[in-house]
Symmetry: C2
Subunit: 211 residues, 2 copies
């Protein structure tokens, strides 16, 4: 697979590029140069050219990049041309917020199953998404071929849910708990720890001001 050689730092920027291309497309722009792109997404123009060049020569010298071409290319790269189904475990406040948010608006990612322990939610439909018992987690993940999971459960049960999910065939977990999860190498964990992020922000403000 060619793209295995793409640097991680580049891969993390791809969704940002994708989003800006969508905006350009919607506003009927036909071309974009790396420097105007750079201004918009706040990434150095050389970095953008370097990033894009990992995928081949996508631009034209003296012209820039063709928005529609590039957007289509990104759709393939980022799997935006088919729907990815995602499961969500834990319908607390954050879980509900994510359900409601549901990523629909501009990405082809959709939460298609939710899981919780509370009897009164099980077998209901919340924000258009069916809610199952966590006891059926593994079974439903297998049946629905869900490979990606969002985890918004209490930290204390995070690892347990994680283990079950992996048995159910999950390959990626977006982990909103503060617990660092242990998982096999072929399962990717993306930690989103909001308290951490906020602390980091505050630390930077206090210590890196006036750079």
């Amino acid at each position: 697979m060619v793209s295995t050689k793409i640097p991680r730092a580049t891969a993390k920027r791809l969704p940002i590029y994708y989003r800006y291309l969508s905006i350009l497309h919607d506003s009927n722009q036909k071309r974009v140069s790396s420097s105007s792109f750079a201004d918009a997404v706040q990434v150095d123009s050389a970095t953008i050219r370097r990033d894009l060049s990992y995928f081949g020569a996508l631009g034209k010298r003296g012209y820039g990049y063709d928005v529609d071409n590039l957007l289509n290319f990104f759709k393939k790269i980022l799997n935006q041309d088919h729907l990815t189904s995602v499961g969500l475990v834990g319908l607390g406040n954050l879980g509900h917020a994510l359900l409601n948010f549901n990523f629909h608006k501009d990405s082809n990612v959709r939460i298609s199953a939710a899981f919780d322990v509370h009897e009164d939610m099980i077998n209901t439909v919340q924000d258009g998404v069916p809610v199952y018992s966590v006891n059926d987690l593994q079974k439903q993940l297998e049946e629905q071929q869900i490979k990606v999971l969002i985890l918004t459960v209490p930290s204390s049960v995070a690892q347990d849910i994680c283990d079950q999910a992996i048995k159910g065939g999950v390959k990626g977990i977006m982990n909103f708990t503060s617990r660092r999860l242990v998982a096999p190498d072929d399962v990717r964990i993306q930690n989103v720890d909001l308290t951490n992020e906020l602390q980091t922000l505050i630390y930077f403000i206090e210590h890196y001001s006036k750079e």
Copy 2:
């Protein structure tokens, strides 16, 4: 300021270290070695020793690190010994979830003011936090000396709110919108784009499996 020389990558890990130290402290551990630390937080032990060494010689050879000492040190470093007040703009679903979450549990960060446009929320108290009109944003930020803001508003108004907040003296913004904000150099923007994170996760699953 000494700590200005701390690498960014290190600074980002500090909250993770802090959290794990808290756990050790709560479970009455007196000492910890860089290697057991490494197992727990999933960071290479040499990286941990290097990170800590930026702050001086905090450990003892042949012994490890004293948990309480280190924890106290981190509390100072991360401003955990005084409360940081944070504002939140936008009481949609995500905003409410964050209000309820309120970071209380293990960090000394507290949302102390919320802002929204909806008349029926203004001047109420939601999850223990007073809600003001966004029209009073600048004034309230000044009065309450709030330097950090969480932004969970529609993308279309993000930059406008950002500008007002900066006039109100804000120095750090945790931006949950997909818009890249433009701000002076002395204002730090931390982007938390959940759609991006999910897309990145999916990209990694598809392209970096079996590493």
